[in-house]
């Protein structure tokens, strides 16, 4: 048995791995439903880390069984908070999924960039203003000549 491989080390690395995988999926995914799933995974990792904060290896479950002298218990306060967080997490999932269903009914796409484009166009049409072509375009004068439309399309962008 490797002496450094304790239970808490394994559990902490699992929790950190789940949180980082969830955050990476939240940032990197393009499909919106997959981002909801990544949020679920990050929430699971956060719950694991919270329960782990009150864990002691030599303690019993926090249930009072005998009067008088009690054995050592794990901390019940993070467990109560995690109990609340699980239920709130399911509520957040339901809210996110309902928003996704409304977006799908209105725009018929779930791709992140296409959704942003369509929403920008609709906001500009409602406000009666000209929509900005690109959010990455510079505000002032261009120091270099602008890229032509065919070059933009060759790089994968929209003209």
């Amino acid at each position: 048995m490797i002496p450094d491989l304790t239970l808490e080390l394994i559990l902490y690395s699992t929790a950190l791995g789940l949180v980082s995988i969830g955050l990476a999926g939240l940032v990197l995914s393009r499909h919106s439903f997959r981002r909801v799933l990544a949020l679920v995974i990050a929430e699971a990792g956060a719950n694991l880390m919270l329960v782990l904060a009150g864990y002691r290896w030599d303690a019993v479950a926090p249930i009072v069984t005998t009067l008088g002298k009690q054995p050592q218990m794990v901390d019940p306060v993070p467990q109560a908070m995690v109990l609340t967080a699980i239920v709130i997490g399911v509520g957040i999932q339901a809210l996110a999924v309902s928003i996704l269903i409304r977006i799908h009914q209105r725009y018929h796409t779930l791709d992140r960039n296409e959704m942003a484009e369509l929403m920008d166009a609709e906001i500009a049409a409602t406000a009666g203003t000209a929509r900005d072509v690109s959010q990455e375009s510079p505000l002032g004068e261009r120091p270099i000549p602008p890229i032509t439309g065919s070059a933009v399309q060759a790089r994968g962008g929209r003209s």
């Binding site: 048995m1 491989l5 304790t6 239970l7 394994i10 559990l11 690395s13 699992t14 791995g17 789940l18 995988i21 969830g22 990476a24 999926g25 990197l28 995914s29 393009r30 499909h31 439903f33 997959r34 909801v36 799933l37 990544a38 679920v40 995974i41 699971a44 719950n47 694991l48 329960v51 782990l52 864990y55 290896w57 303690a59 019993v60 479950a61 926090p62 249930i63 794990v74 467990q79 995690v82 109990l83 699980i86 239920v87 997490g89 399911v90 999932q93 339901a94 999924v97 996704l100 269903i101 799908h104 779930l110 791709d111 994968g156």
Partner: protein, 103 residues
Amino acid sequence: MGELEIWIALLLGLMMLSAAILVLLVKNHIAAVAAASVVSLGLALLFVLMRAPDVAMTEAAVGAGLSSLILALAVKRLGLWRIEGKITRSSLLATNTRREKDA
């Protein structure tokens, strides 16, 4: 006792991490929801290991049961529910989502 717990935690942790990576990589959305529920079930077992049986009960019922039900119904409602008959290696993972639209 202690060593057995360490091995169980190692196994469950590896299972949960691989299922979490699979959620982000697999192309079929039903499989992604199933992998997310595998993560929740492993989390419930880890809660039992950490002497939190009430949290484990809630996680198994709400996190794995109700949440998977909500997500599966959402898959059906969003029109992503499709089951391929033949599975090849190229159709399994959504690695090049930039090229073709994310299925």
